[in-house]
């Protein structure tokens, strides 16, 4: 039987990987569709707002990576136990996303001088602002990003940080943040995740 879920994303980790991790963690079968960059132009208009990832299930299609991850987290029991707990998880996920958004322009900047200036701001201001505060959150939460226990916020950081923190600094941006590093390591060592990391296509 075909899997009841189909996740479409580019052929890479990026914003699709959190959901792939969640599917694997929960042992939920899914079709892992990967679109090659050169094929994207003919695919783009098939999706409501021209963006990936997109999740399909029972004939319906939905976009937005964080919304999809939140949905899957509920399915695999990595969400909160009540509305306030879910607010805490949502808030730290949005904060990590804010950090990602501040770094994204670096990837798109073509002008070398401007790119260098952006990296300078990221290294001198953005990362020194966010990373110590995220480190404090994880320290306070018993090695996790919320609620003192494993939630999808941990998965979100583990996947997003690999993509967005290392690609431009050229060094380990988490070197001075042992709690952040440990949290990501712990996620990667979950058996289902470890297996996925070893066997994933990219």
């Amino acid at each position: 039987m075909a899997p009841s879920y189909k996740l479409t994303y580019f052929d890479g980790r990026g914003l699709g990987e959190t959901s792939r991790f969640l599917f694997k963690y929960g042992g939920i079968d899914f079709e892992d569709v990967r679109i090659k960059k050169e094929e994207w132009p003919q695919w783009k208009e098939k999706f409501a707002f021209g963006q990936l990832p997109v999740l399909e299930h029972e004939g319906k299609q939905v976009g937005q990576s964080i919304a999809i991850a939140r949905y899957l987290a509920k399915k695999v029991k990595l969400a909160g136990n009540d509305d306030w707990e879910n607010l805490e998880i949502d808030a730290i996920v949005d904060t990590i996303n804010d950090l990602r958004l501040k770094l994204v322009p670096i990837f798109y900047e073509q002008d070398e001088a401007k790119k260098k200036a952006l990296i300078e701001v990221a290294s001198k201001e953005t990362l020194p602002y966010y990373l110590p505060r995220l480190e404090a959150v994880v320290k306070k939460n018993n090695g996790h990003f919320a609620l003192g226990r494993l939630t999808w916020a941990d998965f979100y950081f583990a996947t997003i940080s690999r993509v967005f923190l290392h690609s431009f600094t050229g060094s380990d941006a988490l070197a001075d943040y042992p709690n952040l590093k440990a949290s990501r390591q712990k996620v990667n060592e979950i058996p289902a995740i470890k297996k996925w990391i070893e066997t994933r296509p990219d």
């Binding site: 707002f49 964080i66 509305d83 505060r133």
Partner: protein
């Protein structure tokens, strides 16, 4: 004279819980003295009949307040001794309390996705509006007004048409209140124009939400601000 005599009791005299005459609301929302990103939460609490303290600080106090805010940002929401942050996360929480969410997880996903899409549009507009370099800002103007706004608004208008006048699930959800609550902010960032002028379904949605009795009441009583 027995008939017509009435015994007036003050709340204090029958109050056995030793509370003050007026109890503080369970929620305190803190933000700049504007609508912008706090307004969806205000709309949702109002719609749900949930009392909240709408605290708007003076802008000049922000520098001393900022270091005490989670990640240096507002709005924040205080409740039961805890402090939450992140405007959309808090709006989703308020929506649950106000019962404007979906009936199952997939329905909530659909609402979340359209809210995030509206937020994507807001971010693109903000990239233009808040650009400090005048030359860079000017270079972003045409792509924003000629490409980005039409791209998003046409598609959002089509979503509302396909959903019986709403942004999701063919019925009123927090996505509708979220969108309408930030409209004044979006318009002000776009130079004060009505960005919905060419989009009849979105305009109708705006009117639908503004005519909800609880929202109408809120809009009439809220402080009048430009954004």
């Amino acid at each position: 004279m027995m008939e017509g005599a009435c015994i007036k009791r003050t709340r204090k005299s029958i109050n056995i819980f030793n509370t003050t005459e007026e109890m503080a609301p369970a929620y305190k929302l803190t933000y700049f003295p504007v609508e912008a990103l706090a307004e969806p939460i205000r709309f949702l609490f109002s719609y749900g009949g949930i009392e909240f303290e709408d605290f708007r600080f003076d802008r000049e106090n922000w520098p001393q307040m900022k270091p005490n805010m989670p990640f240096g940002q507002v709005p924040v929401l205080e409740h039961n001794g805890k402090v939450a942050h992140q405007s959309i996360a808090m709006a989703r929480y308020a929506a649950k309390k106000a019962k404007l969410v979906g009936n199952d997880e997939w329905e909530d996903l659909e609402i979340d996705a359209i809210v995030d899409t509206v937020n994507d549009l807001r971010q693109k507009i903000a990239l233009y509006h808040y650009e400090a370099d005048a030359a860079v800002k000017e270079s972003r103007k045409e792509p924003l007004f000629k490409e980005t706004l039409p791209y998003y608004l046409q598609r959002l208008d089509a979503v509302v048409k396909a959903n019986n006048g709403h942004l999701a699930l063919g019925k009123l959800t927090w996505a509708d209140l979220y969108f309408v609550a930030i409209l004044k902010y979006l318009n002000s960032m776009c130079g004060g124009n009505d960005i919905l002028a060419d989009y009849p379904n979105l305009t109708a949605l705006k009117n639908t939400v503004l005519e909800l009795p609880a929202i109408k009441t809120w809009v009439e009583k809220r402080p009048n601000t430009d954004m």
